[in-house]
């Protein structure tokens, strides 16, 4: 259990589970040709199970070659967080709309991306994607225009 204090939020959380949802390799036609540049399409989706105080952050990574013409591999990891003080950091309005603070989203996303990076390295080590290490991502990129998502 860890308490993360911030000017904007004070969350007490723990990781309940890390699940590798899928992983795949697509060997290119000329496997001996070294691939120097990788492009990563990262999709992040967060879901909340309010009754159980759980937040699911699912990270989908698609690895593509330099010119985006080939999908070299894909991996999806789900990080399940239990937010102990759920009611304090995630507000549920009467119409069911959830209000989650952006700093908390960024924190959960950062942890999940880092976890995915590790799982990805472990999954792809020794393959032609050995060097495809997920780059560090600026948390500012996680920002969205709105914090509200309708039910």
């Amino acid at each position: 259990m860890v308490k993360i204090k911030n000017k904007k939020f004070n969350a007490e959380m723990q990781i309940r589970a890390i699940e590798l949802l899928n992983g795949s390799l697509h060997l290119p036609a000329a496997p001996n040709t070294a691939i120097a540049t990788f492009n990563f399409n990262i999709g992040i989706e967060s879901k909340v199970d309010a009754p159980n105080k759980l937040v699911f952050v699912i990270v989908h990574v698609e690895i593509k070659n330099d010119d985006y013409s080939l999908v070299l591999g894909a991996l999806s990891v789900s990080c399940i967080f239990e937010i102990v003080n759920f009611d304090e950091v995630i507000k549920i309005e009467e119409n069911g709309t959830l209000i989650i603070q952006q700093p908390l989203i960024e924190t959960l996303n950062s942890i999940s991306i880092s976890t995915t990076r590790g799982v990805m390295f472990s999954t792809f080590k020794g393959t032609f994607l050995h060097g495809a290490v997920l780059p560090i991502i600026d948390p500012k990129q996680f920002q969205t225009g709105s914090h509200k998502v309708e039910k």
Partner: protein, 152 residues
Amino acid sequence: MNKTTKARKYNSSKLQELLDEVTPLEMEQTKVKMQLAVRIEDCMKAKGWNKSQFAVKVGKHPSEITKWFSGTQNFTTDVLTQIASALGIEIAALYGKKDIQVIYRKEIVVKTVAPQTMFIITTPVNQSSGNYDSFPWKSQGNKTAITNYYSA
């Protein structure tokens, strides 16, 4: 000579004929029935009940429960209400609708240039002793983990 192993494609005209006879609607109906059966079984297990105990709760014979779980049962609304009531959940929950909301979704594209020798998995075994000629990890040659350069 390199031997390549490929997944064998299985084509059967009979199988295709059978699949062609199934309409998308029938396919969906079967899928819903199967999902419903699985959901009921999951909820039963979550309660810690076995089939016999569940049968008692819903006032049915255990063989009826087995039939329900087969995924072929066409449940009536009354039966579903009875099941949901016994399980202490709403009927909607039996259809897999959980209280889970998507609160965030984002797509990010990043690029990296992979340095070819940046990440090397090495073994702590001392290969210079000459006793490990057949050791499978010797293929790492004289490469050393970068972390080793920073060791005290």
